[in-house]
């Protein structure tokens, strides 16, 4: 049973297939409006994530399917002590496909091992969030027309930012990718990702603390939020949260066609004054997320039925 737990579960060819389907859904939504008729998606959200859950639900509804599920652990059997494995087995009896968000790392893997329907990891703690990465890849493709030959700057929390880790992993499989890591010392990209992904695959990268110094080189600037929930202590959070803010002033030095991305929600790391700039792509990313999730649901349901 094919599931999606980590972005690397899919080959470059499979990602290309998803991007093509998503683009076709965008162009011809009516063609897909009944593709999932009679199918049910279970959204099992053991921690709240309204945005991701609604994206999955909207995607399923636009495919003509139905949605069941819960949006927090308190309203699930987890509050009674049920294991993830048992929940996955039970929900497999009700739904055709599962999208699961869980605060613990590896929970989606456990679900996929025990479910008899496909499982989509909708985020497992600080570990993986592959559908965000798919949304990012679709956005890059739609903005740039390619997934290779790009200089991408990642800015902010590169230590705990799982979207950054996943996207770096995904991009490492394309040619001529150049990565610039912009973060304070405390929030640098973990060394194992640099070693196991960037260095192993010979991807050129540089690390800097200054966004303004490198912004002219970038084709894409991927901003991230310094997330309160990833810190063990409040003091560290408060000290670092304002470290990297993109302002209109800083943006003046960027290329005219640089795409600004952000997995959202933002706090204050991108000034609201930038929202109307043609380079701002973060709300398009949200929309693309819905389309790529629809493409993913279609792909996994099709493979499950074969």
């Amino acid at each position: 049973m094919k599931s999606l737990i980590d972005i690397l579960d899919f080959s470059v060819e499979e990602i290309e297939e998803l991007i093509n389907t998503a683009n076709d859904i965008i162009e011809n939504p009516e063609k897909y409006s009944e593709r999932c008729k009679g199918k049910k998606l279970a959204t099992l959200f053991f921690e709240p994530s309204t945005r991701t859950r609604l994206s999955f639900e909207a995607a399923m509804y636009e495919l003509g399917g139905n949605v069941i599920g819960f949006s927090e652990a308190a309203s699930s059997s987890a509050s009674k002590g049920e294991s993830v494995a048992d929940t996955a087995k039970v929900i497999s009896c009700y739904a055709d496909i599962i999208a699961m968000r869980h605060p613990k790392e590896g929970a989606a893997y456990v679900a996929a091992k025990n479910a008899s329907v496909p499982v989509i990891n909708a985020g497992d703690g600080g570990h993986c969030h592959p559908t965000q990465t798919l949304a990012d890849l679709l956005t890059i493709y739609r903005e740039k027309g390619r997934l290779n030959n790009l200089t991408i700057g990642f800015c902010g929390d590169l230590k705990f930012g799982r979207t950054v880790h996943s996207l770096i992993n995904a991009l490492s499989r394309y040619n001529k990718i150049n990565i610039i890591l912009i973060s304070p010392e405390e929030l640098k990209l973990p060394s194992y990702i640099k070693k196991d992904v960037l260095e192993k695959k010979g991807i050129p990268y540089e690390q800097t603390r200054r966004l303004d110094e490198v912004i002219p080189k970038l084709d894409i600037l991927y901003m991230t939020r310094v997330q309160r929930e990833r810190f063990f202590n409040e003091e560290d959070y408060l000290r670092l949260k304002d470290s990297y803010i993109l302002t209109v002033e800083k943006l003046k030095r960027a290329k005219n066609d640089m795409s600004i991305m952000h997995p959202l929600p933002r706090v204050n790391e991108i000034s609201a004054a930038i929202d109307n700039d043609s380079r701002a792509c973060y709300f398009k990313q949200v929309l693309n997320g819905k389309y790529i999730r629809a493409a993913l649901i279609l792909k996994l349901l099709k493979e499950a039925s074969e």
Partner: protein, 138 residues
């Protein structure tokens, strides 16, 4: 080290100095009701210093544990004061319930029934990662 003193049993030899006690604990040798000797810091031509564990009986050994702690170790089976067999150890591809994932955010930290499984990700640097959260074993 003279092996004459063991008639029938197992000698785990060529353990890098310092790993003897770790192996003793992970193999659960403290729970055995047979004689076990740990000899530490023995001068060795190959390792400069080495540890040796002598088990004065035949027991089922978990070779994955030995391979994880010290893949350079050797296991010698002794019968009637003679070497019966010498086994070379290899680093196992998978470790199941040998070590625990220490990542407090890992699903194994809250679901006790899950097996703790690690996969060998980098043989050269002996890096094992948890299959659930990918945290490095340490």
């Amino acid at each position: 080290m003279n092996i004459d003193s063991i008639t029938n049993g197992i000698i785990i030899d060529h353990i890098s100095a310092g790993n003897g006690m770790k192996l003793y604990n992970l193999l659960g040798l403290d729970n055995l009701n047979v004689a076990v000797a740990i000899i530490k810091n023995i001068p060795s031509k190959k390792l400069i210093k080495k540890d040796i564990i002598k088990i004065y009986s035949y027991i089922d050994l978990n070779f994955d544990i030995i391979g994880y702690v010290d893949p350079k170790a050797t296991v010698n089976i002794i019968k009637d004061n003679k070497f019966l067999k010498k086994l070379n150890i290899e680093m196992p591809e998978t470790l199941t319930n040998v070590i625990k994932c220490k990542n407090p955010r890992c699903i194994t930290s809250v679901e006790e029934e899950l097996d703790h499984i690690f996969k060998l990700k980098d043989k050269e640097n002996k890096v094992y990662r948890c299959i659930y959260c990918e945290a490095k074993a340490n």
